[in-house]
């Protein structure tokens, strides 16, 4: 087990090193840098001013030197300064993380709490009108882009209630805070809920045809006990896997949702930072996200090993 742990840990470090290289060089491959953008905003290009600014920001140095400055600083916890706001990068990144985390968490909760029960109902009532209706809902969820759904929700809110559910930075009550996140979370979680529902349905249909389900029914177990205690328990594994994958994909959906609902989270901030070629923000933020994802994978790998001895001995 110890050897397995060390191997996984080393693999994790190598992965993170690889990611740092990819982030760093990909950013430099994208045409233009912060100085180009600043001069574009000012409407002129003065070669002397440009060179002086590049020198001031250190982006005139060889790439290897720039990489070393960044990665050594990152390991020391010195994230440098944002090129745009000229504030410490960490100070810019940290306050935005909880906002996106809450939104993502709520979206996943929405996805699971709506998708799983409806998926079970759809499977149990297979071929009925209710099943068809739920399948249409799930297909709609997969077909509607979240930004469009977001705009529809906003337009409908204004037209019907003259209310605008955009981000409130200072909610007075927990209900207000919940409302601030609930609508955008629903918009972004709808697609995820639809996917969860479809996976739950197909997984349940497969399980419901198993012999042990027939046995349970023969023994006189109630429908609820059969569906939820026997069938769902075994059908849930692929659903959990999908929800896990969705969590990683969620960041893509959050970028547009944060833009439409004007939420100052990490996802929109990252896109803005890329637009400005704000290297310290992009590099450190992507690296932090990578650490979270890689660490989560590492923990899952460890849990697999704990629960499945075959992994311990064969990997």
């Amino acid at each position: 087990m110890f050897a397995y742990l060390v191997r996984r840990l080393l693999l994790m470090l190598v992965t993170l090193f690889g990611i740092s290289i990819v982030i760093f060089f990909l950013l430099r491959i994208v045409p233009g840098n912060i100085v180009d953008i600043l001069f574009a905003a000012a409407g002129y290009v003065d070669p002397a001013d440009k060179a002086s600014l590049e020198k001031e920001l250190g982006i005139d140095q060889p790439l290897v030197v720039q990489y070393w400055h960044w990665i050594s600083g990152f390991l020391r916890g010195d994230f440098g300064y944002s090129y745009v706001s000229e504030k410490p990068a960490l100070q810019e990144i940290l306050p935005r993380i909880p906002i996106t985390a809450r939104l993502a968490g709520l979206a996943l909760l929405f996805s699971a709490s709506i998708g799983i029960p409806l998926g079970v109902i759809s499977a149990v009532k297979q071929g009925t009108r209710l099943d068809y209706a739920l399948r249409i809902v799930s297909l709609s969820g997969l077909s509607l882009p979240s930004f469009w759904l977001g705009l529809l929700i906003l337009t409908a809110s204004v037209a019907m209630f003259n209310q605008m559910p955009i981000f409130n930075p200072n909610p007075q009550t927990w209900l207000e805070a919940f409302a601030t996140y609930a609508v955008p979370a629903a918009a972004v979680g709808f697609r995820s809920a639809a996917l969860t529902m479809r996976i739950t349905r197909s997984s349940m249909l497969e399980v419901l045809r198993q012999d042990y389900i027939r046995t349970a029914r023969a023994k006189g177990a109630s429908d609820a006990a059969v569906n939820y205690q026997h069938a769902l328990k075994n059908a849930i594994l692929p659903v959990i896997t999908v929800i896990g994958i969705e969590a990683a994909f969620l960041i893509g959906g959050l970028i547009v949702t944060e833009t439409v609902f004007n939420i100052p989270g990490v996802a929109r901030f990252l896109v803005e930072a890329i637009r400005w070629r704000d290297y310290p923000i992009v590099q450190n933020l992507v690296m932090l996200i990578a650490i979270v994802v890689v660490s989560a994978n590492f923990i899952v790998d460890m849990l697999y090993a704990v629960f499945d001895p075959r992994i311990r001995y064969t990997d």
Partner: protein, 532 residues
């Protein structure tokens, strides 16, 4: 008896109406003005930017020496009023402009404002001081200024190489605030200190900008508002919906497009909306240093093919202006009169005749129905650039030019233009002040950094100087018209149209004036108040 009663009732109603008007007209103190901002400005230093995304939130923090009167829509020499200066005078054969400064003015950090601050600001703008701006896009404005000298704490003089009456207009722009000597340019980018009606509180990139009332403002009783809060909403649909739902007291100025204006008026019928020219000209930049546009015939043919009214009707439902380099009248002060404009090739009303002439020029250059000229039309990847570029490509087809849209990210736009790595470009040129000096020298003088096409005509350059020194307004106007006509005939940078845009606010917001010949100068907001 009945008529007496009716008379009494009428009198009472009139009195009530009068008192209501009087009450509504009396400015009220207090309230935070909530406005959305269209994007997150790169920093907070007006001198280091060239977008009104900076002027709108940060102009209230500062004062100029002089400023365009904030309650008059049309900026002109007659509407310039003193601000940090109490008075000014031209002396020494109009080669020295001397300002007497206001006493007792304090910076927001409590330090006194003196003539040294004025000298520091303009020395930095002219690149003569130790401290430097990271970017200095309006350095050319002060090319005729030899130096700035002080005489005690309350007098400052601009000593010029030659007379330049329009210097006063440049000093009145929203782009010309006075900065404090004791605050570095770096600090001004992140935490600006001014003498203006509002103090800077915070700027959270991509989130918000907050200003609060300056209780020690030198103009007693101003500002009326307790503060201004800008919420940054880059998504235009979200922003407009939020305004309609009453989340904001004011939409970002001049940012409501004509089609969106209809939505606003239908969903918020009480909103006050005005449509004004923003003095931003949509134009074509031509790379005349390389084939095929080094051929003047092809340049002229291209200019002749333009149907400017079609652009205006498609993009602005007819609400735009056709003109030369300078904004046309009545809003513009210096634009050519209609008859003169229509005498320029390509500006005449008969589009078909113009295009027939253009086809002949193309045929002379070796192109025709069987041999089309393939060009790339480069432009920035922003709708206000992209949309007219698409219409331009369509119109060029009529004269055997097959255009292909080349959309360029903002980061690469100016480097590409500077490298001359383009054939045709669709560009927007905003004018900070409605004055020929700013426009001519910035965009058409040989060697100017913003003369993207490197157009250089020494004869016209001489005329720039002649008009610039002319103190007689009418004489100067005629000179300016002749120059503008020549620039259009030379196809230096063909102007397609001058846009008009909408500004909206809630009915209880009072004292807002949207400038009609510049979108950079009207955001001091010290006279704005809320009737609620």
């Amino acid at each position: 008896m009945r008529s007496v009663r009716a008379l009494a009732a009428t009198a009472a109603l009139s009195l009530l109406a009068f008192s209501t008007i009087a009450l509504a007209g009396e400015p009220k103190q207090g309230g935070i003005l909530r406005m959305y901002h269209r994007d997150s400005p790169g920093n907070a230093s007006i001198h280091e930017g060239a977008t009104y995304s900076l002027n709108v939130p940060f102009m209230p923090v500062f004062n100029n020496l002089v400023i365009y009167k904030q309650d008059v829509a049309q900026n002109s020499m007659d509407t310039i009023v003193p601000e940090l200066a109490e008075s000014w005078a031209w002396v020494n054969d109009n080669k020295t402009l001397t300002f007497k400064l206001r006493a007792g003015v304090k910076w927001h950090d409590g330090k006194p404002f003196t003539s040294a601050d004025v000298k520091c600001t303009f020395d930095m703008l002219m690149g003569k001081s130790q401290q430097k701006f990271r970017q200095n896009p309006r350095k050319t404005w002060y090319e005729q200024v030899n130096d700035v000298s002080t005489n005690g704490d309350l007098e400052v003089s601009f000593n010029l190489k030659r007379p330049q009456p329009s210097l006063l207009a440049l000093l009145a722009s929203g782009y010309t605030p006075v900065y404090p000597c004791h605050v570095s340019p770096g600090d001004m980018r992140t935490h600006p200190i001014g003498t203006g009606p509002f103090k800077f509180v915070e700027f959270k990139a991509n989130e918000s900008i907050k200003l609060t009332r300056n209780p020690d403002y030198w103009r007693k009783g101003r500002p009326y508002l307790d503060g201004i809060e800008f919420t940054i909403i880059p998504n235009r649909s979200t922003a407009i919906l939020a305004f309609v739902a009453g989340k904001f007291d004011m939409a970002f100025p001049t940012e409501v497009s004509i089609p969106l204006l209809k939505d606003v008026k239908s969903q918020a019928p009480n909103a006050v909306c005005v449509v004004e020219p923003n003095n931003v000209a949509t134009n074509i930049i031509v790379n005349s240093s390389a084939p095929p546009f080094d051929n003047i015939d092809i340049r002229r043919a291209m200019a002749l093919s333009l149907d400017r009214k079609a652009f205006i009707s498609i993009m602005f439902e007819g609400q735009g202006d056709v003109g030369g380099t300078l904004l046309p009248p009545p809003n513009g002060l210096w634009g050519m009169p209609k008859e003169m404009l229509e005498s320029i090739p390509g500006y005449g009303p008969d589009i078909n005749a113009n295009r027939e002439e253009a086809k002949k020029l193309m045929q002379k250059a070796g192109y025709g129905p069987d041999k089309h000229l393939a060009v790339k039309v480069s432009t920035r990847n922003i709708p206000v650039y992209r949309d007219p570029a698409v219409i331009l490509i369509d119109q060029l087809k009529s004269i055997y030019i097959d255009g292909e849209l080349d959309v360029v990210e903002t980061a690469n736009w100016f480097p590409k233009i500077a490298r001359k790595d383009y054939m045709l470009g669709l560009n927007l040129t905003g004018n900070a002040v409605d004055d020929p000096d700013q426009s001519f020298y910035e965009n058409y003088s040989c060697g100017s950094e913003r003369n993207y096409t490197n157009y250089c005509n020494k004869e016209i350059e001489k005329l720039f100087d002649v008009q610039s020194q002319e103190t007689d307004l009418n004489k100067r106007k005629k000179l300016v018209w002749d120059i503008d006509k020549k620039l259009q005939e030379d196809v230096a940078r063909p102007i397609i149209f001058h846009a008009r845009t909408g500004s909206c606010w809630q009915p209880y917001v009072k004292g807002v004036t949207v400038m009609s010949n510049s979108s950079y100068n009207g955001y001091r907001y010290e006279d704005v108040w809320m009737d609620k």
